[in-house]
Symmetry: C3
Subunit: 310 residues, 3 copies
């Protein structure tokens, strides 16, 4: 890793991704080898928005490396309520920790914050912006299940607002994946994202669809995301759209037997529970992969630091 901060998946070259994924695989194979590796190191958690799995998996990752965390807690109990700027908050908390993880509702917050601190800062989601560690664990899960070479992936659901989807799509251009985007008209990928994907796409096929049916048989991976009720002014409209983008065993009859179904979770109704115990389902494994991938990332960033303990 040549980077002190991890703000967006766009900054990651194919080689960067492979470095993280290879390290994660090593750690997965023998977690006890690193269990004291960062003893005495502290990771500062700054979550200005709710999160369960991202926050818990960063915390788990740091503790599985022998380190610990200091958590700002909810913004209701913080100085933010007293009017403190983000720049001040991160400069104070930098003094407590060896690296920082930031989630913030405003796009660009991580970039701005990173300019004020000397310790590595990891973006754990900045509004509609980026969520690069989610992308890395998604790529790790794809590599384990379907491989990243010669990949055909379907990405379905809310493609308009999902930062997870945008981050993943950018990263997949590094691997010349064929990407099929399946969504209702009203939740299509933003035009600027499509433009960027084409720019970065070095030959990769980017296609958009309104129905899963036409592409399902060709897919190695189907990546499902949640369609959020609150995006729709009309409940009936939501019900109609959401119903069309749900997956059950009947849907998957048309799929390849080796299809891998992923979801960043939490899900609501997008994937029927009857799929959970089939070979298709990789979404719980995907959630669990957050730990080795974040361990790998933290290990690389903390070992890169001034004291060079590697």
């Amino acid at each position: 890793m040549r980077h002190d901060h991890l703000i967006t998946s766009k900054q990651l070259s194919r080689a960067d991704v492979e470095t993280v994924l290879d390290r994660a695989a090593e750690i997965d194979a023998d977690p006890t080898a690193v269990e004291d590796r960062h003893a005495g190191s502290l990771l500062g958690l700054l979550f200005f928005e709710p999160s369960t799995r991202t926050k818990m998996s960063f915390e788990t990752a740091m503790k599985r490396l022998g380190g610990d965390v200091v958590d700002m807690g909810s913004i209701e109990s913080s100085s933010v309520k007293k009017g403190e700027t983000l720049a001040d908050t991160v400069r104070v908390i930098e003094g407590y920790a060896d690296a920082l993880v930031l989630r913030h509702p405003k796009q660009g917050a991580a970039t701005m914050a990173s300019e004020f601190v000397d310790v590595p800062l990891l973006n754990a989601g900045d509004g509609a912006g980026h969520h690069p560690t989610q992308t890395l664990l998604d790529l790790y899960t794809i590599r384990q299940n379907a491989g990243l070479e010669d990949l055909t992936i379907g990405i379905m659901g809310d493609l308009k607002y999902g930062r997870t989807v945008h981050s993943l799509a950018y990263a997949l251009t590094n691997f010349d994946a064929r990407q099929h985007f399946v969504s209702p008209e009203s939740l299509r990928l933003p035009r600027e994202v499509v433009y960027d994907l084409h720019q970065a796409g070095n030959g990769a096929g980017i296609r958009e669809h309104e129905s899963l049916e036409e592409v399902l048989p060709s897919l190695d991976v189907l990546y499902v995301t949640r369609i959020q009720r609150e995006r729709f002014p009309d409940e009936n409209e939501y019900q109609k759209v959401a119903g069309e983008y749900q997956i059950d065993l009947e849907t998957l009859e048309a799929a390849d037997d080796d299809l891998t179904v992923m979801h960043p979770l939490p899900r609501v109704d997008e994937i029927a529970p009857e799929i959970d115990d089939t070979e298709y389902a990789a979404y719980f494994e995907q959630a669990h992969n957050g730990v080795p991938v974040r361990m790998a990332l933290l290990d690389l960033l903390l070992s890169n630091g001034g004291d060079d303990d590697e």
Copy 2:
């Protein structure tokens, strides 16, 4: 312990209880002997309801064994707000931890959740259901103060809604204790609990009373619980009932000098502060016993696991 999950005190045989209590006594006698015993292990905390002492004492217990915790945090900041099911939440968090502790407002939640996870799950209270680790620390406190053999115990207060009371009463049938239940008519033990106690009671005497007076002199232990204001539609009715089930030094003049007074805490007015510094009071000791008892339990469950590190 033959069990991977601890859901209810009903699943514990007399031998199981004694195994945990003996281990707790060993740990109490020499806590430093286990201070690194579960280094590297993580306990996942899932509290869907507020808790101070149960959560903190699990956390303390795990840390006193050299381990650490990962905490889901309040449900306000979690994926539950996004509509995630409990089954999904526990399957995700299972990936972060070596054992789970669950508190949930719905009766039966722990049983259901335990069916979805492979790591040991401990029920820390499921609605009006069970709270078996509270029962174990209650039994430990009774054993230290009055002994579990030939025990006469009075259990007083809100016997209708208190899961603590039901769990304890079931467990005491293992020890042939004489149990006197003292409550206002409106807060008597549920009939099904009484029935179950008689079924399990192998000769033990189960008696119900409306007044403490008639049984107090015969008691080795008086276990007081809080009468909750919110159970009463009428404030005057509450005041009248609550006032009758309060303990002070004058009340205890009729008691045996060796009487042990217990309370699961928090208390409001049920026990006068003047009792705190007397030989009767065991309720702070009881709260503190949560640590060695939960250490013993975690030690037994984690040592039972796949890698068999004992």
Copy 3:
């Protein structure tokens, strides 16, 4: 340290302060020397009021000493909501921890609580009362930047309600500092604080001013505090007052080149960001100093304890 509890800066002699500050300097110079020093020790955090930096820096300090914390969490999720008294809460949590840190909205809460516990209790702020660990890190910052000998300090802003200011002012009487208090008429030091300072002042000069201008050139240190909007019934009145007590580069043209500007943070508009990167600014360093100073304090208190592990 001769004290088991730290409640107020008034209880600290000059020798006490120097013991803590010297230990903090040792730790700052070589933090790795103490990184396992209190392994196995637990610090109980009881914050009945929101706090970011005090709580996080106590947590960081304890973890940098190899120890860990158990946190009561927010009062919304605690037994306090069920009507438990502070005396009961601290007696329960005492059973989990080797020392306690308490922040509470009521003045005198720390003194009261300390009477119920046997482990060391540190006051992290009790309403308009005291905040002695803030004072110690302020003194440490002053000593590092300007020295505590022959000091001339200006303390500006809300001098009426700020416990930080009162604690610091008392402590500085130990060092015969010249103290200039600069505030609007409505936010002057309370008369009883001025009286106490004169009583304790052994010759030190205590002066009050409405304008910074007349004293700025003579200052070694300028300690700025936030003027809270909610103190003013009238928004216009607030704007007028707040505007007069703001510092920017133009203000500091009249100051000595070696002036050190401090602030307990969070700031709102009191200090212009253009000062952040100048030699004047010591407020982020001041925040970071919370860690070594609290490490020193915890080390002294925990090493003092019954088992005498020093």
